[in-house]
Point group: C2
Chain length 344, copies 2
């Protein structure tokens, strides 16, 4: 069976099953006490989580591959370095965690320009400096094309007692409001502009969002401290990611297009496409949080990042997300994007 | 400047300098106390080392790229999985550490066979089970060719007080005996046999050494507990790796070909090449340890892995390794391998 037949998510499901079966046996046979060697959470959330003594630790890894995740013509090395670290920091933020250190693996062709690689590291160091994350090691390997894998380790805030000290995808409950930080669709719009080779001055924020995503580390910690328990980051697109959160929580959800935080300039420049960009654009690296509306309001008041309530968790088919259009109809993803389905 | 002009090690040197300069500034500006946020050792040893509270933590990462580090025709997926994890565990062993968890990133073409990927994970899970290391997360990305990046985190043994609880490349002193575990050259011989498509029954150990390297985790911990302070693993070839250890320790060294632990069957099958295979073959994943001869003897007596004293650390040009042949002459690496240079 080829990977293309079951897709990346199909493969991940099979591997999760395999790893779960094998390691359950390994754990049972290796520990007489039944203690899971400190592992709290493996594959299936934004970070792996385990305990050493009193400290709850986090680790995550993300990779960018040339011509798959970036095109060298469209990006500067420095921006690429920033982004490679930032998307990992966003996973730490998604758990409400504090990043600590990063390991960096580069796959490089022999023809790579040394100055470019140094600029890439400058971009990573800029991002690391901004978010208190040290580059502590890594590996450089020869490869026919360029790729960069970053692994970030960190810890949960010591201010919240275990086991409530991380935001989990699985902690959502019926009635929770669903909130998102910042604005949606900007990064996907930026990519469209880059591909088209146009740079309208009013849409500079979209190019920035695509090139230099901002990990919401402070907001993740604020949310946890305010009492939020459920969250993830929006990397693959709002609806797809909310479906994962809902599946993990055993819930359904509804979101309202009228409430999506999308910048006015983006709505004006992409009048036909802004809903698609916001619902499925991807690479926003904003936080998706669920909790009581008043708790989410408190997070907004204590931080300096916009937080918008866009919908609600509800009982239903686990993982099912309903999108309600501005005129109250239910929308569905079709071949040419999100479209009205029927009266809701 | 192209990477090919300065090579991988030239690039690493430049990046170490850049990272050192930038992070020194970041550390100085971000910490009023001058404490390095717990970072003990960054780039330049087998693992990065830092402290959380009372625990000394370790992390390392290594990558295998198709057609660079392996050829799919020469390897089974299961062996490849074992090796991808084992070479990282070897870095933990090289610090005398205890591995804990692994994150795995796969780059996969759409045409990859799902059964192959599952076999790859079976191999990793076999290795993880053998050495008490859990697969806790990772990333799967689309890529035009296959690559696998593994990051392993672990900790130093709690039985040795900080700061002597890790083996460092930089801890070698003049007069130290130099020892190596197991046998040298087997993996490189195995690769030669695989490339030639021959499988002499007497050399099965060489194929095994190449396909399923054994991380010396127990020996690394025994060495540390016996009082050894200096070590690394032999991954790029004995002489090249000993040069790195000597450079880090500010020492020179001499090794004697007569003392190299090379299996008899390998000497017989490769009468012209066994010295080269042992000195520069690479991928042995044995431990290189330096310390008082009686301490190294004690490690041998307490463990079940062969340990051979092969030379001595001595004052001299830092990083310079002298190789003495069986007849007492000094050898030098030439175009066709190691050769006699002059009477010693």
């Amino acid at each position: 069976m080829k990977l293309s037949e079951i897709g990346e998510f199909g493969l991940i499901e099979r591997l999760q099953l395999l790893i779960g079966q094998r390691q359950q046996a390994a754990l049972a046979s290796s520990t007489s006490s039944g203690e899971p060697q400190g592992l709290l959470l493996g594959i299936g959330d934004d970070c792996a989580v385990w305990r050493y003594g009193d400290v709850t630790q986090l680790a995550t890894t993300d990779t960018l591959v040339q011509d798959v995740h970036f095109i060298l013509e469209n990006t500067s090395w420095q921006d690429l370095g920033w982004k490679a670290l930032a998307i990992n920091l966003s996973d730490i933020a998604a758990m409400g965690g504090i990043p600590h250190s990063a390991l960096v693996t580069l796959g490089l062709p022999e023809t790579a320009a040394v100055e470019g690689i140094e600029a890439l590291y400058e971009g990573m160091l800029d991002c690391g400096q901004e978010y208190s994350t040290l580059l502590i090691g890594g590996d450089i390997v020869s490869a026919p094309l360029f790729f960069i894998t970053v692994t970030v380790v960190g810890q949960a805030s010591g201010r919240i007692p275990y086991p409530n000290n991380v935001l989990l995808r699985s902690s959502g409950v019926a009635g929770d409001a669903i909130a998102v930080t910042g604005h949606l669709g900007s990064s996907a719009a930026g990519l469209k502009l880059l591909k088209a080779g146009i740079h309208p001055p009013a849409l500079g924020f979209a190019l920035d969002a695509h090139r230099r995503p901002v990990p919401r580390i402070g907001t993740g910690q604020l949310a946890l401290e305010a009492g939020v328990r459920c969250g993830m980051d929006v990397s693959d697109g709002l609806v797809g990611d909310l479906e994962k959160l809902c599946a993990a929580s055993g819930m359904a959800a509804e979101v309202a297009v009228a409430r999506l935080p999308v910048r006015q300039e983006l709505r004006e420049h992409f009048p036909q496409e802004w809903v698609d960009l916001a619902l499925t654009g991807g690479e926003d690296y904003e936080l998706l949080l669920t909790g009581p509306a008043e708790v989410l309001d408190a997070v907004r008041e204590r931080g300096d990042v916009p937080i918008s309530i866009i919908g609600r968790m509800q009982p239903g088919v686990p993982g099912q997300v309903t999108v309600r259009s501005e005129d109250g109809t239910i929308m569905k993803m079709g071949r040419s994007g999100w479209d009205h389905l029927r009266r809701g």
